[in-house]
């Protein structure tokens, strides 16, 4: 029961983060929201492991933690080298 309550809170947080990811004016807002949703996905995976009584999900949570960092850094590298990173930015 308490895992379900925490799970509902985490899912509400994911929904709010996705709203920011869809509305975000710049690309960096979307990436920040994506990073936050990634952390919340790790928490949701850990809670799923406890709800279903299968702790194997914790290995997936460890993997998602590492993929979150690698994904963020990789996308940042990609957009740093491209021209259309920030449409509102003034060219210097």
């Amino acid at each position: 029961m308490m895992f379900f309550a925490a799970m509902i809170a985490v899912l509400i947080s994911v929904a709010l983060g996705l709203v920011r990811a869809l509305r975000g004016p710049t690309m960096f807002d979307r990436m920040l929201a994506g990073n936050t949703v990634g952390t919340l996905a790790v928490l949701a995976l850990a809670l799923i492991g406890f709800v279903t009584g299968r702790p194997d999900f914790l290995d997936l949570a460890i993997l998602y933690t590492l993929l979150n960092l690698v994904g963020t850094i990789a996308v940042l590298r990609y957009f740093k080298l491209s021209e259309s990173a920030a449409p509102v930015a003034d060219k210097e």
Binding site: A5, S13, F28, L43, I62, T65, I73, A86, A89, D90
Partner: protein
Amino acid sequence: MAQFIDILSWMFLMAGGAFCVIGTVGLLRMPDMFTRLHGASVVDTLGMGFIILGLILQAGFTLVGVKLIIIAALVLLTTPVATHALAQAALHAGIRPKLDHDETGGHIAGEDASSNS
């Protein structure tokens, strides 16, 4: 004793869920990208920490508990790196923090603090 640990675990899980919602509401309502980093940090430190702590109390000192500690350590190590890289990339791309005063100390004409919604 088991009842006490259950109650403590329930409190930690509720606090973690509350901090997750608070952090994402901050992510949704803060005025610009650099202040939204604060909301994201609340989720990454307090929300994650309290939920993992509640789960550790449920798991006890087993392999599951050790895996949860590993998850907490990895999140605490990797999210500051991602956040720092994100802020530096945003500054590099020319996004400036939204200030009440401009950088020379004068007040920006036609804009006051109540309009930063």
